[in-house]
Amino acid sequence: MEKTPQRREQVAPRFLKGLGWGFLGTAALGLLWVGIAVLLDADSIPGLVAGLYDLIGLEGQAEAIRARGLQENFSRIIIAAFAIIVGVGGVWILFTALNKFVDVLPYRTRKHIRPWMFVAPALGVLGVYLIYPTIQTIRLSFTEDGGFADNYSFVFTDPAMQVAIRNNALWLVIGTTGSVVIGLLFAVLADRVRREAFAKTFVFMPLAISMVGASVIWRFVYAWRPEGQPQIGLQNAIYTSLGNEPVAWLQVPPGNTFFLIVIMIWLQTGFAMVILSAALKGVPSEIIEAGRIDGASEPQLFFRVVLPSIRGAMITVATTIFIAILKVFDIVFVMTGGRFETEVIANRMFNEMFRFRNFGRASALAVVLMIVVIPIMVVNIRNLKRQGVGQ
């Protein structure tokens, strides 16, 4: 606590300085706010320019702009310039001011407050774009349409919804297992070939294709033409060449749901393979060596030594794919639109929201999806922490 007189003298100016920076920070926030308001209002840019003209005494031209607006491109350039100045400049001033403001606080508080100062804007944005919509969605699911009881009983008792829930379960089980198992298989096999990177590229490539793009490709694979016509679909071309009648693969449940899941596996296997391949390479050769010396067979080595060593990576991959599949929408939307008993929860949610405009039902579906995701997220985060990522 012993301070030199010199430092003590600085306390008063330091306090004033802090006040100044605090004020500037608030001003920056205000400026950002005004800036956003200006950008949201289509008429504001001509108004702003007119105001500037007024300011420098060109009232006639200001009047002209108010009357007939600005040229569209010019207006856009101003908007862009304004956004850059207000956005970048505002954020810069804000952080500088906050930082300087913290500087003047007592050392101990400083230490605790500074991280929050930097995280605060991000937290704010998160609140506006994530927390608020979540709360709003929950509220809508309780109040819109028929209210809580109606909306949630629809989710669990409507015959079409039961099909959707059943399909989602199928997707989760088959899709996740399929991606992880096949991904692991490729990872293990690729580990032992000479041109590993080359081999892995082929499995990895679908991951670069969007779900919609992949769906369009697979629509052709499953395409159907009446008997006697040339089959343009790969699957039917093969099937009919074996002497069978063409089958409309996407129309026949429950096979069609399976054919849709295949697309997801095709997309996700590459992801599983890359992560698991990296994990495999991280398994110390010493313990494999030790296992060999102890006389373990290759399958024993794999299931008892290698697999437990990459458990963490397996969980990460499985949970990530699980969540991606839980939200599956694009594939179903493009391929069948949920027809022929291929409906899934997310597609139904989209239809309820944007086509039938049943906000309550759509929100209830969203809430159910969110609740299902939460335990998976917990597992995932715990797993990351155990691996030391979260520290």
């Binding site: 007939r68 079409a160 409309a248 639109g337």
Partner: protein
């Protein structure tokens, strides 16, 4: 550091000011011109003044636009018309742009109804948008997104131009929110002209004739008499709902149809199930439909009729679809030459000649003078003329002279319309979206999947899905 920042700010500001100054000089002349026209409009009140070059119309803002008053302004228009149909709508919009100097940004959107809803919800609505669903207009009006016409539109003119049913459909709560632009007749059946001539088949005039001829074709040629399919992305199923509605208008009074649309009778009323039985007589009869039920569900609506133009002769002979379908025919085919159409025949004589139709209307989301002017233009017969001349277009505007429809097929369509005893709108467009674009469509798909074997279950489940309120 802070000094450099200040310099940057000052430079940026001065650049902006310099740019503004240039713009203002360039725009000076137009500004004065605009002022002048404003004064004439003030003096002349409503329709009397139109300067040199301007055209006289019964509409205030349109006259002002023709006088060049909104030159340089921009209007955003969105509609479902893409590809070939985009050229048609552009032929309508371009003359307006040329006459007024207003720029129109036209955006044709596939998956239109969904995208439009998303954009309106996101406060990103176009200035003027088309819809084929009066129910959608009512929803937007209810939510306060639309601009009502009553206060500024020439309502007397609107009344003179459009029959009551079109005006009623464009209204909500006593206010008018839409202007009908395009009408479609659904009650027509396409057939192969040459094939009919070769085989000596006559155009069927009753339902029984139609079924008898179908049997005869199947027996004579070994091909399937009907081309039917309903796959249309997220709108799959609507072709089936059109069929059911068209048949219901022929087996029950129009009042029953109206009651069914408004759910005053159950969706699965006995009359409706009777209509479904008539439909099944064609849809699910053995060897009646090309490719069978699988093809009905799997083939894209636009490709339905393609087998009719097969090199080996027609593989199917009847296709019930509205007059826009020739746009989807294979290259080198021509409407009226390769395939023509006849009126979907009546079933029970007492209900006369009903016509099932649909229509597209314009709705207005943003209220600016130039938007008003375009809205007015779209209500005039002159706006419809370019598309009428291009074909595939029937205007619901009564003031459109009938001799504009000089050529095939519009002359025939106009004749069918003039012979109509009843005109009704597509029920699925008017029912609540949950049913009209949801369970009704998906129910029809399920019905087809089961080869018509689950009629009662399907209609019961649609009835169950009707919203409670």
């Amino acid at each position: 550091m802070s000094k450099r920042w200040l310099i940057a700010m000052v430079t940026a500001l001065s650049l902006i000011l310099a740019a503004c100054a240039n713009d203002a000089e360039g725009g000076d002349t137009t500004t004065t011109a605009a002022n002048e026209t404003t004064t004439t409009a003030d003096g002349g009140e409503t329709t009397t003044t139109a300067d040199e070059g301007g055209m006289e119309t019964p509409y205030e803002h349109l006259n002002a636009a023709y006088a060049g008053e909104y030159e340089g302004a921009t209007v955003n228009v969105a509609a479902q018309w893409v590809d070939a149909e985009e050229e048609n709508i552009l032929s309508v919009l371009t003359p307006f742009e040329e006459a007024t100097g207003i720029t129109i940004n036209y955006e044709g959107i596939s998956d239109y109804e969904t995208v439009l809803t998303v954009r309106v919800e996101g406060n990103d609505a176009p200035d003027i948008a088309q819809t084929a669903q009066p129910g959608k207009m009512v929803q937007f009006a209810e939510e306060g997104h639309l601009v009502a016409l009553d206060d500024w539109f020439n309502m007397a003119q609107l009344e003179a131009d459009y029959i009551a049913s079109f005006r009623d459909l464009a209204s909500y709560d006593g206010q008018t929110y839409g202007v009908f632009f395009k009408g479609d007749l659904k009650s027509i059946v396409w057939y192969p002209v040459q094939g009919f001539a070769d085989a000596g088949y006559a155009i069927p005039e009753t339902w029984d004739d139609l079924v008898a001829l179908s049997d005869q074709i199947a027996a004579d040629t070994g091909t399937n008499p009907w081309c039917i399919s309903i796959e249309h992305g997220d709108a799959s199923g609507w072709v089936a709902t059109d069929w059911l509605e068209d048949i219901l208008l022929r087996t029950a009074p129009a009042e029953t149809y109206d009651a069914w649309v408004n759910h005053e009778i159950p969706f699965n009323d006995a009359e409706v199930l009777e209509a479904a039985d008539y439909m099944a007589e064609i849809w699910f009869a053995d060897d009646y439909v090309y490719g069978g039920s699988t093809a009905i569900n799997a083939t894209f609506v636009g490709d339905t009729q393609t087998p009719m133009f097969d090199e080996a002769g027609p593989q199917c002979w009847f296709h019930k679809q509205a007059a826009w379908i020739p746009g989807f025919w294979p290259e080198g085919t021509e409407a009226g030459v390769d395939s023509s159409f006849f009126y979907f025949p009546p079933i029970e004589a007492e209900f006369g000649n009903p016509v099932l139709g649909s229509g597209d209307m314009w709705m207005m989301f943003n209220d600016r003078p130039e938007v008003r002017a375009l809205m007015e233009y779209l209500a005039t017969p002159e706006a419809a003329q370019p598309w009428i001349e291009r074909g595939g277009f029937v205007s619901p505007n009564q003031s459109v002279p009938l001799d504009w429809y000089g050529s095939y097929p519009n002359d025939v369509l106009a004749e069918i319309l003039s012979n109509a005893d009843t005109f009704r709108f597509d029920a699925s467009d008017t029912m609540p979206a949950t049913v009209g674009q949801g369970t009704f469509w998906s129910g029809m798909i399920d019905w087809v999947s089961a080869d018509g074997g689950n009629t009662e279950d399907v209609f019961q489940s649609i009835e169950d899905s009707w919203p409670a309120s």
